[in-house]
Symmetry: C2
DNA sequence: CTGGACCGTCAACACCTGTTGGCATACGGT
DNA sequence: ACCGTATGCCAACAGGTGTTGACGGTCCAG
């Protein structure tokens, strides 16, 4: 995979604007959509290219390989709220609401889950995302810092389980539940995983 | 897909023993393993046949198609304990322990999840399994029968989330947790989803 | 105006997929 | 002993996959 070279004289490490940025963006958007809908194997480069209205070979030129494209798609920022600014008695409800927003405002999480479940490097990627982004929150909220990773994993199990049943498997009762109900049910769970004393 | 015909004079609907039963079993076992390890698309019929030490065409003869083989593999019985015999104050812990057993004693649940996430008919199959097998437990444990499906779905979200993070994605902290810890953390959660008053 | 880098298309490659039909063999009831 | 049938293997098909290289057109710096 070739490294993208940038030939700028400026001091900022911002990439040089290229004439093909529109195409790159179209590819990325189409890839997100196809990966989310079909998972890694069934999301073919040809289908992605068709959706982006360009030639399949462009995908290869700009992203090196299917794996490279997938890596670009899965550059996920959970945008978790700053732990320091959080009300420690309300972290659970806030987190649940935030994840509901994430799942519904874009297909990135669906794509991440669909790919992470079947693709080994997708799973690694997910491990990294949750380790790097969710653990800090646990670190600030839980009593013993040493327990933070475990507590973050417990939260991940409930939050990912929610997305799995509601947005991927679409179990009808999980789809029917209203947002406030979910927050009311799952909020205290996450809250307990983060702040309750080790049982 | 041809229906298997059985020509027995007896009254019992038990299938006639066939000379090929050993082969059929080998195919099924290999399929479970490959589906669990690779998901639907990457588990090729050729790989399954190789593992079962037979010819790929045998798979077609005995199971009609890849989809048919997959349907045979995903005939999952969760073997949930009889709700009537359950201690209503301990359902949560019992369920969590039972699911941990299920995930660890065979690869069926892993296969089910891997396939259900990427394959539409796999998702349908999972919907049926949890609707038919988990809802009765909720029905007996929860206060209002009308809420049983929703409560069952909440339990499914936590129980499947556990399997997802621990056995499929293998998030390290989730793998490290000991059985008793998981039961102690998740048991009360499931208990609450089943028996607590609607928030 | 000109040369070179960029952008996009086309056709093709080598490989792998599910699936099919034909052929040999071994079994089991009569 | 015979014959229909179940069982298994082999070779092949048609279609789809990721990936590659060559070929024009377009833009911009010189």
């Amino acid at each position: 995979m070739q490294v993208e070279e940038q030939h700028e004289s400026g001091t900022a490490p911002t990439a040089a604007p290229r004439r093909s940025d529109a195409t790159r963006g179209a590819i990325l958007a189409a890839a997100r959509e196809r990966f989310a809908a079909d998972g890694y194997e069934r999301a073919t480069i040809r289908a992605i290219a068709r959706e982006a209205r360009i030639d399949p070979s462009m995908v290869m030129r700009y992203y090196g390989s299917k794996e490279g494209l997938f890596a670009a798609v899965l550059d996920v920022d959970l945008r978790l709220p700053d732990p320091a600014a959080l009300d420690r008695d309300d972290v659970g409800r806030v987190l649940v609401g935030h994840f509901l927003d994430l799942w519904e405002e874009s297909e990135v999480l669906t794509a991440m889950l669909r790919v992470g479940v079947t693709n080994p490097s997708g799973a690694e990627r997910m491990q990294g995302i949750f380790r790097d982004q969710l653990t800090p929150v646990a670190l600030l909220a839980c009593p013993d810092p040493e327990q933070a990773p475990a507590r973050a994993a417990l939260c991940a199990s409930q939050l990912l389980g929610l997305g799995l049943t509601r947005y991927v498997l679409r179990l009808p009762p999980a789809v029917t539940l209203h947002r406030e109900e979910i927050v009311a049910w799952l909020g205290p769970t996450v809250q307990r995983y983060l702040t309750a004393p080790h049982p």
